[in-house]
Subunit: 218 residues, 2 copies
């Protein structure tokens, strides 16, 4: 059965962005602070290293019920027994990934434009990563920021789960949720933080504030 | 059922090495000249491009009964419906690839040392790519050439199908077969050839000569 996912705080764990600690340390701390989903993104390592890293993280996350999603590499996701794959527009088409991974896998898709959003098939894709919401230095090839207004427009065009990415921080996360995102995704806001657990906790609180619930009790 | 494969002439089609023609053209011509297996190797393209290229080649090769093997990317191989995957020592472990691809897929493994050869599991791997047999400029990170003597030593240590790679040309291919290789693999000898069909035919003839059969009649 497809796992039920809390999309509130989605960490994109990228070794390139983890300057102070290993990816493993960052992920452990982020989850302790309140991250609810983790994506492993590694554009540099060999397939074997990517697979080994995914397995290590999955060993940590599976007992906690936190899904692990692998960026781009459906083979790595499947080989490491991960919960899903996240696909960009130049990665494997989502329907092919779905066919390989089966109905229970989580399949996510990055959409930067309304055309890409409307092309995303709700029968195939579990969520869309929408961004950049704000200006960001992590992805230098990203388009112009959507802002809260653009995010609202996207929200009005789809019933899919939206995870908002790009320049999201504790200071603006509540507004992102109010604009209609189901969750926020961050890279450097946690990976590069001096204290990833605290950074995650602050982001998670902001998400709950955006939902009008105040800080989480847990 | 696993396809029965003629390993005689194994073309590694790499866009980086195809300087005069497209990969599609090179592959068509090589098969017309006598190539019996094709591997697509692309270390540069996006997953989507790799998948599209694999599909295009598979459309050409499947009706001819020539298996298409994808380098490194098990997901691309599976997504494009290819016959197999070829794995290096830093790619996905062969047993994981076998598990994902099923019993009928062709799984190949590059081995550069006797230790790697002895570690190759005959229950998992269909063939080993052994090399470099001779000095080659295509893979600058390759180890010292094995020569015919090294190849004979490898032959004496395994019952697996050996495809010999690295600096193999029409002039030395017969000796490579006599040293115990089941087939020869080439990159630039075909990809960079002025006339890939003629280059393939010359290589194929040399393989048959090495087997003591003279040139193929077809």
């Amino acid at each position: 059965m497809k796992p039920s996912v809390d999309w509130s705080l989605y960490l994109v764990a990228d070794p390139q962005a983890c300057r102070r600690r290993t990816v493993d340390e960052v992920v452990r701390l982020a989850v302790a602070g309140g991250a609810t989903v983790v994506q492993l993104r590694d554009k540099k390592s060999s397939t074997r290293e990517y697979l080994q890293q995914a397995r290590r993280l999955h060993d940590v996350l599976a007992p906690l019920g936190v899904p692990l999603i692998v960026n781009d590499r459906v083979d790595v996701a499947m080989g490491a027994g991960c919960e899903g794959a996240h696909l960009g527009q130049s990665d494997m088409p989502a329907d092919v990934a779905r066919q390989l991974m089966g109905p229970d896998a989580l399949v996510g898709l990055s959409v930067d434009t309304e055309d890409e959003l409307l092309a995303a098939d709700g029968e195939v894709v579990d969520y869309v990563g929408v961004g950049p919401v704000f200006a960001t230095s992590t992805k230098s090839d990203a388009g112009a920021p959507l802002g809260a207004r653009g995010l609202r427009r996207f929200r009005s065009r789809t019933g899919l789960v939206i995870v908002a990415i790009g320049g999201v921080q504790a200071a603006n996360a509540a507004g992102v949720i109010r604009a209609g995102a189901n969750g926020i995704a961050v890279v450097s806001a946690i990976c590069s933080a001096e204290d990833p657990q605290r950074a995650a906790a602050a982001l998670r609180s902001a998400v709950e504030v955006g939902r009008g619930r105040g800080a989480p009790s847990g």
